[in-house]
Symmetry: C2
């Protein structure tokens, strides 16, 4: 499939600009064709003003038509077939089956948001009927619902070339809510990004969406992203990436003359607490699950279990030994990018200074970005004394922390920064005995799992992929699951509007047959009398 | 009723500290007894750590018991009787009937949140049932709901000594969501604040709530507020006040090592657009309504209509003349505080430099903080050329802007900053002809009114009292209405939890009989089978 290597500014291809870069195959180190052209400042500005123009009409496209648009994008992505799989595999070194399953997830996610639009309750439509008889003054008719924010910028992530990139969860939820989207492609997979962008632009054109509803920007560095976050037309940002990068962009978004919502999913060590009963009952089984989980995708998931906590015991020693043995069966891994690879290498070195390396499979660094798995071990006291041990280390490694007492385990939990997840391996008795630990974790994380592993995030209605800082920049939001749409909308209230001037969602007849809150009660019924009746 | 003049740190009275100040009667300029003591740094820290301790238990108090707590606060405030009215009147110069009606609003608001807790759908409970048969991997049971954030700091507002102060909407919604609250009292009405704080503390004790669920801090300056916003135990802030003060605190909240949600309601000119048909049909009637609205409460409402826009016409001239005549019947006004009074005086002076003063009732500045109403007039071109005319001027004044053309009117609308409200006076024909104006305003404001006036904010389910920056610091939120509770909560997800370890809201049996989303469908039914059944 032919690649142009040029940005998409609305429906148009950008001109071939002066800034150029190529993707690299992480498995071989080879540069891939073609050259990609970084967008010029003028093109970036044009994408933003085109998005602002598109907002005027796209924000008024019906829920049904937006659902159709999302479903068309899903089908177009599937129709890219093996060309997409081949390109994504060569740009990421992720196995073809992983790419196929990620493609399925991406398409299903778009369809799920289409379902959400048609079900309609997400807009939180509310109607407080008028009461002309109220004393001392009549009560007016007040209605409100969520409306889109405006143009949204999305930063593609390196570790999910499809599901958290050009047509990933951020884009799907922002488009679903009625916002135009400008994607800053991750420079590690520009070809994959271009293919998916074509699928979106084709869908926009075939569904009659306005020019500017979607643009794709290339840039190897930070110039384009910085300019987009600061552009006055941009009203919100979705980001998945590093803590340093996310925090920097967050500060930019906050220090604009008009600050805007900024959603970064950044950094998490996803602590796993193995409680005494569970450790006694099924330590070896837990070790196996942990090994799979922290090496899955070469340990490059934001939900990778990076810290494993136990109280000290003979079984805890056996767990460490077991994990070390499992590592012998780990082959070598290919990491996504040069920067991930070098951060992993230096991270392992640093970690070795403050904790004991119990297993480090011999590194093979050639050809490509190869690395081996490693397991470290520390005591609770040493973990508390060395804050660097609590930092995320991207790649196939984890750290066992053996606490001397239950009290120390709780102290470690209290000292944790915000996390996407925490996991408990626990018997029912453990859970009852550690209710205080559960209460601490509830304040620290977005998702608590019992007897599972944090990798593998279900895309559904109830999922929360978020958490307190630094897991994300906004603990009120999730970037996975249908609640993600709420990030890109705000309530707008209509007082004493003639029904014809109201959005369909708020009209008396409830033409979309959605759930609404009328005078405080949830109902799908139409309103027969707009005013309260007094007998 | 006896006043101590001392902060409440949880259930305890603070010691009389070195920093002291007194309230002033704005109508007379007289200092009021007693002296109030600014909280010391140690007391501020103690209030925050006590709140953090209280959070562990208060966040687990049942919805029913929190509802009871809120209703007890409401009753206790009502039981303060005329002592509260007398004190609030002498501290604010607001008329006793206004204070009584604000007390009613405050109590009703607390009871409304109690209703919200018992109805229960606000927690957005969601359950995605397990599917053990799913291929390639089983689907886990995933459940989630909104949980409280942690200790919240609330800044009392000068212009609503009850409804936006110690037990106002911020406190009511934060307590309702399950968060301890520390109120920084506005120094203009410390006596009123102390009385209401006593009502809350008494309710907390009689309802068995934990010590630290509520504290009240006095400080004449900014030291206490600054320390509270930066305190690591604090997880969110609600503020109502000036743009300068709100923006400064917003920056502090954002630049913490762990940034926290910050909700400031700050600045709005609440533009009123009088469209040609409505102006022709009922210009004089609109002028009367405007006069009442911009002088109500001495023009010290955040929803005061500060800008009135028309296209130029003979009727627009008559409107200006009519407003000028109505001003002759305006008596003099007493403003709330010295700083409001001096800002109003200098604001009028500045405004006179860039616009034409068509009526300024002779100022009476003695005794007390007296001021007169004023109306200014400008052209659309001059308004666009002088950005200071678009700034909020607190007090009984408004600015008429006569635009030369429809296009200029739209340009002025596009140039507006974010607003709490915009109002249209319009016939049905006007509304149809100005659909583009409505679309512009929808992006600029939290609430759009047709043929009404923005002052008088209904406390209900559908109200939105918010809007894009600088109207508020977070356009996704409202500080009035039941949606205000959403500001102080975040989603937490429980994966594969035994049902007994789940919050009641998420248990299979639905013991609270609340609305929940199960596999994407809203229902109040219990779950009989936790897993999807395959036939």
């Amino acid at each position: 499939m032919h690649l142009n290597g040029r940005a998409r500014i609305g429906f148009d291809l950008a001109s071939p600009g002066p800034g150029r870069f190529r993707a690299i195959n992480p498995a071989t180190g080879a540069e891939l064709e073609p050259e990609f052209h970084s967008a010029t400042d003028k093109e970036i500005d044009r994408s933003a003003s085109l998005a602002a123009e598109a907002f005027a009409s796209y924000s008024r496209v019906s829920a049904h038509d937006r659902a159709n648009f999302l479903r068309t994008i899903a089908r177009n992505i599937e129709d890219l077939g093996e060309a997409l799989v081949d390109r994504a595999t060569s740009e990421t070194a992720l196995p073809p089956d992983r790419i196929r399953s990620e493609r399925g997830r991406t398409a299903n996610q778009l369809r799920l948001f289409a379902d959400v639009l048609e079900e309609g309750s997400w807009v939180d439509a509310r109607i407080d009927r008028a009461d002309p008889e109220r004393k001392p003054i009549p009560k007016p008719d007040v209605r409100s619902m969520l409306r889109p924010l405006g143009p949204v910028v999305v930063f593609g992530a390196s570790n999910f070339p499809l599901a958290f990139s050009v047509a990933g969860g951020d884009t799907a939820s922002a488009l679903a809510a009625g916002n135009p989207v400008i994607v800053k492609a991750h420079p590690a997979h520009p070809g994959t990004s271009e293919l998916v962008a074509n699928a979106i632009v084709d869908a926009a054109q075939s569904c009659g969406m306005p020019n500017g509803v979607f643009s794709l920007i290339f840039d190897e560095g930070t110039r384009a992203g910085t300019a987009l976050v600061q552009h006055p037309a941009i009203q919100a940002v979705g980001f998945t990436g590093s803590r340093a990068g996310g925090t920097k962009l967050m500060r930019l978004a906050q220090s604009r003359p008009e600050p805007i919502p900024f959603y970064a999913e950044m950094s998490s060590t996803n602590p796993v607490f193995i409680l005494p009963g569970a450790l006694r009952e099924r330590g070896p089984q837990i070790a196996k699950g942990l090994h799979v989980s922290f090496t899955l995708g070469a340990g490059q998931f934001c939900t990778k279990p990076g810290i494993v906590l136990t109280e000290d015991s003979p079984e805890a020693g056996a767990l460490a030994k077991g994990l070390g043995e499992l590592l012998e069966d780990s082959g070598s891994f290919v990491l996504l990018t040069k920067s991930v690879h070098s951060a992993y290498a230096s991270g392992l070195k640093n970690r070795g200074r403050t904790s004991h390396c119990i297993a480090n499979h011999a590194a093979v660094s050639d050809p490509g970005l190869r690395a081996s798995a490693a397991v470290f071990e520390s005591t609770g006291a040493s973990f508390l004394a060395n804050p660097d041990l609590a930092e995320e280390l991207f790649g196939p490694t984890t750290l066992l922390v053996r606490c001397s007492t239950r009290a120390q385990l709780l102290q470690v939990a209290r000292n944790l920064e915000g996390q996407l997840t925490a996991t408990l391996h626990a018997t029912d008795q453990d859970l009852a005995a550690y209710a205080d630990l559960v209460a601490i974790l509830e304040q620290k994380v977005g998702r608590i799992l019992v007897n599972g592993f944090p990798t593998g995030v279900e895309v559904g209605y109830a999922m929360v992929h978020g958490g307190p800082f630094p897991a994300t920049s906004d603990s009120r939001a999730t970037s996975v699951g249908t609640r993600a749409i709420l990030r890109f909308a705000r309530p707008v209230c209509y007082q004493t509007f003639p029904t014809a001037a109201l959005p369909l969602e708020l009209q008396d007849a409830n033409p979309l047959a959605i759930w609404r809150m009328i005078d405080g009660k949830l109902t799908r019924e139409a309103i027969v009398e707009s005013s309260l009746q007094h007998v």
